[in-house]
Assembly symmetry: C2
Homo-oligomer: 228 residues x 2
Amino acid sequence: MVAHSLRARVRAGMIDEIKAVARRHLATDGANLSLRAVARDMGMVSSAIYRYFPSRDDLLTALILEAYDALGDAVEAADAAVDRADLRGRWHATCRAARSWALAHPAEYALLYGSPVPGYAAPDDTVAPASRPPLALVGILRDGLADGRLSPPDEELPEPVRADLAELAAGFSPGLPEPLLARGLAGWTQLFGLISFELFGRLNGVIPHRDEHFDHQTALMADLIGLP
Amino acid sequence: MVAHSLRARVRAGMIDEIKAVARRHLATDGANLSLRAVARDMGMVSSAIYRYFPSRDDLLTALILEAYDALGDAVEAADAAVDRADLRGRWHATCRAARSWALAHPAEYALLYGSPVPGYAAPDDTVAPASRPPLALVGILRDGLADGRLSPPDEELPEPVRADLAELAAGFSPGLPEPLLARGLAGWTQLFGLISFELFGRLNGVIPHRDEHFDHQTALMADLIGLP
DNA sequence: TGTACATCAGTGAACGCGCGTTCACTGATGTAC
DNA sequence: TGTACATCAGTGAACGCGCGTTCACTGATGTAC
């Protein structure tokens, strides 16, 4: 029993180490992750990896899932650390947390939000962790509505847009006014647009003051949403 | 003379065909473009490609440059087709043109705006063609300012942001009010955020009505900018 | 107009490398009586 | 507590494949006199 769980612990440690080494390789090779290279770095023969992961794609999937969760943790923790009533503070904290995580883990960010890996299809269980950042953002809007600090914009949406948004809201916040959700999605889109532009080199030689640019751009979206 | 230019024409045709075949391969292989696969498709032996491109990276660079130019052409043509005074119409036309080009050429879009290709460094001559879409957007703002239809927002920017934007404006539209340029950049960021989300699968199962979603989101940015 | 020479396109073989995955195997670690 | 057996981790060789690039070469196409 004890002996058994010792072997299990060693095994879990191995799995962690393989993932850690693989993460390091992502940084240089991008998604062309090589099992053999990982095995070499661990001082094992390449076939030994198959004791822990049934194929290269499974290893990649594990890395993707963990990355989504790490990003989700960072974002939710940042939101939770701010006074619930300070909507704008929460918005900025959430956005900054996503950016900080991305800057600290550029290769993993690229794996999640960059071009799809050719020949790799993400399994369904990435959907839930992938939706944590947008849910955190929308949660700020929901809270603002609930305590009256935030009022929904008064505008008519084209019917297909309204219907899509109503359907989308149904799962986590039924009745959330569609115009407000639309602006929340705008903020979500812009957040990852900003991060991608910065990380993929689009700001090189254009915007030297990255932190301030980011804060100002996310503030513009907070204005658009009407956050107090 | 005639004979010489005949050989030159044949050669130019070959170069075009190689690029066309390579573009097709991008769609399935992503940036892992294989010279040998291209040669196979052309019915040549792989070394023959070296008559036309000194290396794989040079072929990739040629494809990137052409893609930037194709996107730039599409965007500028769409803008030019709208009445100069119809600022909002131009904004929508420009954004839609970028999206349409991306949907029609997803692999090339990913090459330009997706994760950087590991081990490949884009040469400097991509900078100019890459800036055509944002310049088209900012041109709308400039024209609106010039004829008084658009007034710059009245707000103070943090100094580093203001300085970066003033420096950026210096090249193509000196004196363009920085708060307005900031909002133009927001629109640019959001445009490519929208396209990337759509193309990289982020909207799957979330937003079925893509066209309408896109138009509404770009309209929100036009509102933020204050386009009439 | 015809001939000698130079340029160029494309071939085929080879170099040296990397990859994911399978398989039969050796030893060590655990489990059951 | 000791022994027989099962499980598991890791090895090493191999399969079959792909890649970018170099090189000496054959023919055809163009150029200069």
